[in-house]
Symmetry: none
Subunit: 248 residues, 2 copies
Amino acid sequence: MLKKERQAYIIQQINIHNKVLSSDLCVQLDVSEDTVRRDLQELAEEGKLIKVHGGALAKSFHFTIESKQVYSLPEKKIIAHKAIDLIKDGMLVVISGGTTMRELVNMLPPDLNATFVTTNVPIALELLEHPNAEVIFLGNKLLKSAQMAVGAEVVQRLGQIKADLCLLGTNSIDLNFGITDLEWEIIEVKKAMIACAQKTVSLAISEKLNTTQRLQVCALDQVDVLITELDPTNEKLTPYAKLGLSIL
Amino acid sequence: MLKKERQAYIIQQINIHNKVLSSDLCVQLDVSEDTVRRDLQELAEEGKLIKVHGGALAKSFHFTIESKQVYSLPEKKIIAHKAIDLIKDGMLVVISGGTTMRELVNMLPPDLNATFVTTNVPIALELLEHPNAEVIFLGNKLLKSAQMAVGAEVVQRLGQIKADLCLLGTNSIDLNFGITDLEWEIIEVKKAMIACAQKTVSLAISEKLNTTQRLQVCALDQVDVLITELDPTNEKLTPYAKLGLSIL
DNA sequence: TGCGTTCCCGCATAATCACGCAAAAAATTT
DNA sequence: AAATTTTTTGCGTGATTATGCGGGAACGCA
């Protein structure tokens, strides 16, 4: 077996498992541990992996302490409060994820009698704490990064729903590109959410205004209401109002 | 398992729970307490956490925010530990709810590569924290009391699954009446879980032995393994062993 | 105060690593 | 095709690192 082949195999293994053990590799490749170690060292120098005692880790294997996002930002509370007024008794509400949404669910008036549809696990959990809310979770394979269910199954079942309201936590909103998001699987679900609801509401902190991500969820003409923590008369919002969005 | 991996896992646990216990970690990671302690010490020197007696705290730990983590009974840890040995790489595991199950999910070895199917929201959330587990949530209407999805939809989709293992949190188990539970909708789902799995494991604290509820989930002949916190040779368990159950 | 847990220290063991050297393999030149 | 150079590999040695265990000290709780 050629050296290049071996190293390619190592990279491949790293990509699959995010790690390799020297001891494993020297069995799989039928070479001595020294050779494996030299290979790993070379690959490490080329920046293709991180060498550690006993093996190597994927370059993407970095662990940082991300301080847990404080979800009691006052802005989010303001937004949540405004949005809650849109939810009336008897409504069927489709609700996405995000910390703002969690804040909203937490603040729901206890006597509200509404049905909520979500694919987001933490949101579902919060909703379960509500005494009167009926909760429908559309499940399937769960996406770790967003803690939500995604996939054709979810999209299809959203298509069978006629909702009154779609509450959309929004990462990025822009005059030209509309609402955008990071991951393909997420925008698929959000699209379906918007499509099934009579009225779509975008909840966004003002810092998310006029920012974009790679993938488009929908254009602004599909959004009916925009909620930020700002006063509706704020000049940052006037361009959005001119496009026909209701500002709250 | 590589040292860095272990430390990354510790950091992750800290990020999730704001704290870790050395005693927990050494079980989860399958290393001695000394090793855990040395890891914590290293990470503390790097400023990634705060070492305290018995474990460590997140750097951002606020004493005002007491994490509402339920104090878990040591019995449940023993049970969880026994059950984890049954889960092997590549398995498809159907898993019910309950605090014991949560303990189990929390203790899953980080390098385990398995797929989990559940209908329980808190369990799904815990599973999402696991670095390698694939999580499938079978959703539908959520039952507030059990924080799980129930209904024909769930049962039907469970019927489409061929699982290797069914881990069943058990409220009541009795020699005559088998496993019983409180609510109609729950037993429907549990029945389906048992039916779709090759092997059914009942996890029960010994105080649940020889108790009954109103509704039967299944007779004992459908249960393959019974796990309690007791020693398998304990006389309380011998009648169950005589019925053909494996006792762990 | 007393008891169980956790911690700290040193040591033993085993695994891993780094280095040099020589054999083997591959590539290059003659 | 033979000879020479270069690269690669395996092995031995000793250093380094990682881990577990025992014993005594320190800690925390009742």
